[in-house]
């Protein structure tokens, strides 16, 4: 009687217990979770390439493997294949591609659509984009001036600034948080940075 009444819950509990114990043990043995976008995801990418060769998610996995193998051309080609299929659901792909283009100092005509595509599909995302700028000699109230200039950009909700020295050059890292519903134009950040 009791089991009949709670049969479904008991089965659910049982399955969850078996799978949960497995997960708990695995998580204790691993230093960090499996990252499918690094070299350790190669095996998964191979399986998916065999099973789902024409899928945009597979293109993304293959693109990431190409990137880790030092093949940026292969990466671009795969990602562009994925984007050509009008993929909308893979936030990691959309955000990563925007960040990649920024890191590669791609032209704003490429960067803007990539970031706007990500932001329009995931307007509530907490993910950020980081830009780096090499600047000249220090000036008074540099950080405050920079923060003020960035606050004038309508699509920036907030920003974090970090100054470091790379090969003797002073480099500002600007992490940007986005305001939803606003169109991103990276040229406005470039203009703000050039105000220093």
């Amino acid at each position: 009687m009791w089991f009949k009444r709670y049969r479904l819950l008991a089965v659910i509990w049982g399955i969850a217990l078996v799978v949960g114990v497995r997960e708990y043990r695995v998580s204790r043995e691993m230093e960090q979770p499996v990252d499918f976008l690094t070299a350790e995801g190669a095996s998964f990418a191979d399986v998916m390439s065999h099973l789902n060769p024409d899928e945009p998610d597979t293109d993304f996995l293959q693109g990431m493997q190409a990137l880790f193998a030092g093949d940026p051309v292969g990466f671009r080609s795969r990602i562009e294949d994925a984007l050509a299929s009008d993929i909308k659901h893979n936030e990691m792909l959309l955000q990563f591609y925007g960040q990649y283009l920024v890191d590669e100092a791609a032209d704003w005509r490429e960067v803007n659509p990539a970031i706007n595509r990500w932001r329009s599909n995931f307007p509530f995302s907490k993910r950020t984009i980081t830009l780096q700028f090499t600047v000249g000699p220090p000036i008074a109230n540099e950080a405050a001036l920079l923060r003020q200039a960035l606050s004038r950009v309508p699509w920036i909700a907030d920003s974090e600034l970090q100054l470091s020295t790379v090969d003797g050059d002073r480099v500002w890292s600007v992490t940007l948080m986005f305001r939803r519903g606003e169109t991103v134009d990276v040229r406005q950040v470039l203009a703000a940075m050039s105000s220093l």
Binding site: W13, V19, S43, D86, K88, H89, A157
Partner: protein, 360 residues
Amino acid sequence: MFQTGYILSRRADLIWFLGLPFAAVFMALGAQRWLPFVVVASINLWITVPHHYATWVRTYGMPEDWQRFRERLLVGPLVIVLLTAAGLVWAPITLLLLVMAWDHQHSIMQQHGFGRVYDFKAGTGTPATGRFDLTLHWVLYSFMFVNAPMFRNLWIRELYKMQIPISAAFVDGVLLVSWIVLATYVPFYLLHVWKTVRSGRAVNPIKYAFIGASYFLWYFTAWHTNSILLFAIAHRIMHGVQYIVMVHFFLKRKASNKLSKPGFWSLVSGPGRLRWFLLGGGAYAVLVQLLINRPLDEFGFGVVNFAPYQAIPEFGLPGLGYAGGYELFAQTLISAYAMTHYYVDSFIWKVRDKQVQAGL
């Protein structure tokens, strides 16, 4: 041989149970074409969350069901909340998988349940038909889950996360088994239908049209794999709307035959109360959204964004992010309440007012 029977009526079934899956696919295709991915969250708010409300109205709001299922209605949520909390702490991936797996099982059971209603209403099938139908659902749905590229990606990825790295050859083997099961069971099921007819009992063609429409939606969207969005939207529309319709008509009939004890359910549902039933579902969704501290513009299909609070550098005011914006919203509410209190008090307490004097 055939005996038709409807859950609601010929016209209503045509709209909600037979036509809706096709309409849902068209809506999902439109969303895929013209709307951003955030539309999935919007559909969730407009349909999925209110369909939970329909459950609460029937269970916790209806004395009849509350009396019958009280123990399970108290123990069940307690166990589930404990299970969820434990999962969040010790095995979050398992919790996620559990929610997804149960969602799939629940989807199968809902369509199976409607199929049972069709047989009940038409007086068709044999006592064994329910089990044959349920197995058919499991075979068809599992076949989709194993074979559709969108789902394949999901379960293989989760196995890898659990450190169970399966090979492509192993997956090919699983796919082959799924084909064998399908190819074996479908003729077996048809044999059951044939035997049913041979024994002088009838079958309800509307039930099969309903099952066909449901699987059209699932199979079409699951294989349309460029986007999870398509499956997510079409499935949510079909599952949620059909459930809300079913609960509404169930409560309406219960109210009409006046055999059930009145309660919260009879205040918010029944004949002439559809708008209150729907408004209740909408209000519940707003409440849930506020409770989990998610933006209300998620209701807006990605085309509505509440005006952001812009920076005013001239005054040294920075723009506000979501958290800051929510604090501003909360502060605005508090201020608005206070000012409304000031305003109302300015005219309801006039001592020269005869009606006020009467209360003093």
